[in-house]
Symmetry: none
Subunit: 244 residues, 2 copies
Amino acid sequence: MEAVREQEATSLHQRILADISERILSGEWAPGHRIPFEHELTEQYGCSRMTVNKALSQLAKAGLIERRRRSGSFVRRPQSQAAILEIHDIKVEVQALGLPYRYEPGTRQKRKSMAQDRALMDLRPSGLILDLTCRHFAGQRPFCLEERLINLAAVPEAADEMFDDTAPGPWLIARVPWSAAEHRIRASAASDDVADALDIDAGSPCLVVERRTWSAEHPVTHVRFTYAADSHTLVARFTPSQNG
Amino acid sequence: MEAVREQEATSLHQRILADISERILSGEWAPGHRIPFEHELTEQYGCSRMTVNKALSQLAKAGLIERRRRSGSFVRRPQSQAAILEIHDIKVEVQALGLPYRYEPGTRQKRKSMAQDRALMDLRPSGLILDLTCRHFAGQRPFCLEERLINLAAVPEAADEMFDDTAPGPWLIARVPWSAAEHRIRASAASDDVADALDIDAGSPCLVVERRTWSAEHPVTHVRFTYAADSHTLVARFTPSQNG
DNA sequence: ATCGTTAATATGTATATACATATCAGAGCG
DNA sequence: CGCTCTGATATGTATATACATATTAACGAT
């Protein structure tokens, strides 16, 4: 019905923001370089100063540029270095401990995405998803609870997979090349369900790692791994690319 | 001429931002609670909708609230803080929430390293170290407990620094170029001391981030940051080709 | 020359306004 | 009963405008 939606999905100020970020991160505009004045960008993009100002303020808050009254806005030296967390394979982790690894499927449900799912997965329209839970064992003990949503619009063949023997993680990695991922790491108290699944007391501390994955701008999966406290430590090692 | 400078140094939209952050973080507005509509806040603060909108957009970007058209804005489950897994500066994190940051020094002790310290710091021979604790506040609430060891063989001038006003993190970064770092992230139950320092119940979940830093092969410092669960979420984002 | 004043300039913040867009509730119809 | 259509509503984005504030350059007086 809706005829032409050729129009960009992004807003103008986000386009400006992306343009400038791109030039800074690519090195085209080196640290110390003065970026165009607001009134120049206003002309360049054919928009009002407020729109430019919003984009530049955001860049300043993100630490990419520094703004000085009367002087202009300048590219800052890179402030920090991102740590690369390795995409961890639980089977490998368990076996590295010298313990036998076992995968145990749990619930499996195909359903329409609810608002909550869409928030977790960064999914715009409603659609079919696969909602899975499973557990990973180290020896006799449950090592990790996995709760996963898979966007069936991005991975339709998952609808026919039962995941009886194969864990969804390795299955997805073998099939869907991911282009971006985001990890969120936090501590949390075990809910009754989680406590039951991990064989620990409700309310006891857990490490929760959530990962969202995109493939070519489409959300693929959201997965939450829950570990009992002290059963798991994430390690990130890095050396700085440059110093400030 | 300019008689009255009673006026606050902060801008209005930052005051709104701080007010709302405070209420959410204090628990007055629990997750799921609908915060006042923009037009209500407009009346309440006697300002335009744009100003309110700017504050709320910032809160949404920080992850404290979720905005739904036609429905309103809602407090999100406390994945409150969005800190990219970078060399995180706690002051910056706190201020990103629009809350006043305060540093509070705790204990300070110069002593010979014990076996335990050497294990933490990867320190071979025995030597003098500085053992510090301090707290970082977000508004009225303790945000993070910092426990730090500094290798005085690597940073002798630290022996003369009292760290009364300057947090040891920024002080070290300004002085010692680091060449490698390692992070360890885990969940843990709050000990009595930690619970006391963070104003939480003993045994409740905490997120613990430990960092070791080396400079030219010499261990410089070991620091442990402890956050109350859900007051802090680490975020790491990446794409296979490059980080952004 | 040095100090203090003034003017110009770029950013910082706020306003009123306008229209777009998503979403929900309810009316109306088959 | 279920469906679509419609209007109401809250947020999203953009504009033009106004004044405040920090900083620098230029100017003038001592």
